[in-house]
């Protein structure tokens, strides 16, 4: 048996935490099926390979590439474009690649603010106020490090994407199912879903998989889960005033968090056809607030101390907003806007 007949597989991480890689390995013995059916040609976390090896490959020679992480710098973008060119099927794998995820929340801050926090806050010892420079001339020649973009972009804001597989990280049973499917396609036993499809998910929302009892909604107060003791194990969390995002979040995880007594925070992203997850959820929550007086409504809404984190924790970069300047950062606004303008020039 020669390796060359096996279809080629690649996986890459851009701006991400590495959890997606762990999730892939977490499919246990199924990983052997990956090895049996694919030749792994590029997977920096698991094997040694150089970018130039990828550059040398023929266009379209990799059958399946799982790309996780958002596009934070020009290295991320370069590899995204390179892998797009070399891959038949490019999958935006995990929440970061699909919609920006936690790294995308940095889109509420300018590059300057991010660097200030990273290099100048009290816990950082930086007496010379050093900042990374993308290009630096040395006697020996110029050294370059990746250029840090003003905002984080999702994979499909940079290249054409064939499939989306959301989750932070995607559930292992879903990864296994997708790999099974691809293997069956290879064996001619199944067909690929239409391009642009979201795969490894259910076709409804988390509520569909959640077994908690639901009644007609009316919310008079939002509470943090730790402030509510005891949490009723049978009743819908939202009904108990815990801001559970399950109703807006795509199914596929078997309602893991709500089953374990924690609210859904929305890592599987919006339901099919929904353009802006946060806007949908804001509208839904607002609809079930049971109050008529403006002050009372205000009081109830104050129960959600971090609306950006509540509604856009995973989806900011991929939302209609894409980025924003929070109201409390008025002074930074002009600077940030200018930087965003420059960012568009690229």
């Amino acid at each position: 048996m020669t390796t060359s007949v096996k279809p080629k597989f690649a996986m890459y991480w851009a701006a991400s935490c590495g959890g997606c890689e762990i999730a892939v390995l977490n499919i246990h013995e199924k990983i052997l099926d990956v090895d049996a059916n694919f030749e792994v040609v590029f997977w920096p976390v698991a094997m040694d390979a150089k970018y130039k090896d990828v550059e040398a490959m023929e266009d379209g020679s990799i059958l399946l590439t799982l790309f996780n992480g958002g596009i934070r710098n020009d290295e991320n973008e370069h590899i995204a474009k390179l892998l797009r060119q070399k891959s038949k099927i490019l999958v935006a794998f995990g929440s970061c690649a699909c919609e920006g995820c936690i790294p995308g929340l940095a889109n509420f801050s300018s590059r300057q603010e991010i660097f200030d926090t990273y290099y100048e806050t009290i816990s950082t010892d930086n007496p010379e106020h050093l900042r990374p420079q993308s290009h630096y001339k040395m006697p020996e020649g110029e050294v370059n490090i990746p250029e840090f973009y003003p905002v984080l972009k999702t994979l499909d804001q940079v290249v054409d994407v064939d499939y989306y597989m959301p989750g932070c990280p995607p559930e292992s049973h879903q990864i296994a199912a997708v790999i099974d499917l691809v293997i069956q396609v290879l064996q001619g036993k199944a067909e690929l879903p239409p391009k642009g499809a979201v795969i490894g998910v259910g076709n409804s929302t988390v509520c569909d998989e959640c077994t908690r009892k639901r009644n007609v909604r009316s919310i008079t107060a939002f509470r943090r889960i730790q402030d509510l003791a005891p949490v009723d194990p049978e009743i819908c969390l939202l009904e108990q005033g815990i801001p559970c995002n399950g109703s807006a979040t795509r199914s596929g995880c078997n309602a893991r968090c709500p089953s374990a007594g924690a609210q859904c925070i929305g890592c599987y992203g919006p339901a099919e056809g929904v353009l802006d997850y946060g806007a949908r959820l804001i509208s839904a929550f607002a609809s079930v607030i049971d109050a008529k007086e403006p002050e009372e409504i205000e009081r109830i809404l104050d129960g959600i101390p971090d609306p950006a984190g509540q509604f856009y924790r995973f989806s900011l970069a991929g939302s209609l907003l894409k980025a924003g300047v929070p109201a409390w950062k008025k002074n930074g606004q002009a600077k940030h806007a200018a930087e965003r303008q420059r960012g568009q020039g690229k």
Binding site: S204, C207, N215, V274, S287, V288
Partner: protein, 670 residues
Amino acid sequence: MTERIGVYVCHCGTNIAGVVDVVEVSKWAGEKLAANGVVISRDYKFMCSSLGQELIQKDIQELGLTRVVVAACSPHLHEATFRNACKQAGLNPYLCELVSIREQDSWVHTDKVAATEKAKAIIAGGVARVAHHEALEPLRVPIHPDTLVVGGGIAGIQAALEVADAGFHVYLVEREPSIGGHMAQFDKTFPTLDCSACILTPKMVQVGSHPNITLLTWSEVTKVDGYVGNFVVTINKKARYIKTEDCTGCGICWEKCPWKVVDEVFEAGLGNRKAVYTPFPQAVPKYPVIDAPNCAYFLKGTCKACEKFCPTGAIDFNQKDETISVPVGNIILATGYDLFDAKRIPQYGYGRFDNVYTNLEFERLCNAAGPTSGNIVLRDGKTVPKTVGIVHCVGSRDENYNIYCSSICCMQSLKFAHLVHERTGAEVYNFYIDMRTPSKGYEEFYRRLLDEGTHFVRGKVAEISDFARLPEEEGKLIVQVEDTLIGKQRRIPVDMVILSAGMQPRHDAKEVGKLFGIACSADGWYIERHPKLDPVATMTEGVFIAGCVQGPKDIPASVAQGAGAAARVLGKIQQKEISLEPVRASVDEQKCSGCRICNDLCPFGAILFHEDRMVSEVNPALCQGCGTCVAACPAGAMSGTVFSNEQILSQIEGLLLLTVNGKKAEAVTA
């Protein structure tokens, strides 16, 4: 894109063309939007004229247009016109989109270049949207022939009688124990000086005995479900503690009742009534009510004098509020007005000085059936005033209170002046800003007053005080006013002051409006569908308004509106069926996870939840297409026809000129 779209830009005379370069806009649309499917773009002087409509129809037939965008006025005005024109030419009317370049463009901008660019963007939005339209058929539903009239003042009485006389059933709901409204409190009506009760009570009796009218006094509407043609109205009948089937209205109960209560409503605080009472002798219905919060039995558990003496055993202290719900096809709101609270102007001394009266108090004071049997006397009950000052525009035409003119105060004040003069021979001063007597016979009445020797002082009263500076001011009320005709400050000592307090919207007008789904203007009056051409209809189909709810007006105007609203309702009833916009919400059961967020939101009760399948469903017969559930659905499982995501988002892309030249420009990233 396979649609063949026609764009029609209207000049609307100079309404649009005066600000927007319509020729340029039309040319631009023909060229730049050609790749988006626009095959023809024309401009025309009046698109809504029959020639303009024919232009569109000819193109539909000759060029095979599959979509039409008309850039003209607001859809409220001419959407029906152009849809109808398309329908006649064989194109489904819902494939026509009217975009407003008048109300939303030419009328609100002065910069011609910018307005022209905006018109282009608006049209690009319409073109992008119309491509996603679907052919729809209007829904036809039957109209329930019964009508609800809310408010038993003169406007409501007139409306109820008109509808009932035409042979249709009416529910007349009134919050007070009797119908009659403010008109029942007046003594005389201007300018003819007819006895108010004499002309009103026959109508009240007619209402009370009409076979087609169900009179529900001492009742309030608590809930309105449904929509035009098929409302379901929930009414709370407050407990009267009287068995109306046994009561003969003989009056023994209120004769025997030992408890006197100041009558703040009908007698405006000037007189007393008993704890069991009818507000006035000619009340309709004749049955009294027991005022439980002021009744000895309810307060202390003893008394029951009325029960002991009632010859027919009609008193029932155990009665409870009763809730009924009735189906009706149309609703007329005639809930009237509240009097401006004269205490809000402390310098006029109402509430501080005994002999400062409001207009409503004075009406009762000079009413033969009132607390003084029609004798005009001071608060002491015996002194006849020798000089009387009447202040116009109290709380009206005043930036500090209400900016509007209450429209009846001039005539009412003239009427007061006449009555004072006639009955007491007192010297009368009228303090006015402008004299407004525009209706039939009003100016003649003013002249009559001039002849009667009433003093008219043109100026806004600054203050009414009891602080005497001169001996002749001792014990008098002094009206401090600038007489603007002689350019001098004057101090005029009088014995009695009458404040012509203006009209203002009912204190609960906003909540009541919400109940019936209609809106208030900034002043608080209900907004009519069109201020000139549709004054009794509202933006909510099937809900009409009449009388002072729509704005201050006199009795003839209220009667005319009551009759007008009735005519509109009768027109609807005669149609038997109504065609409804096919704008409806529907649920994609696949996507619905049964989260139940939408379940309690529907104002029309159109959403059902299937416990067994854990999905929600919309009943299309009840759905009104308001979109509340569509916006709320977190899963995107709910969608609304004519307002799909595709339609809205493509219109936005068009507005942002992202789709010009057929290419969808790169969405701005970050």
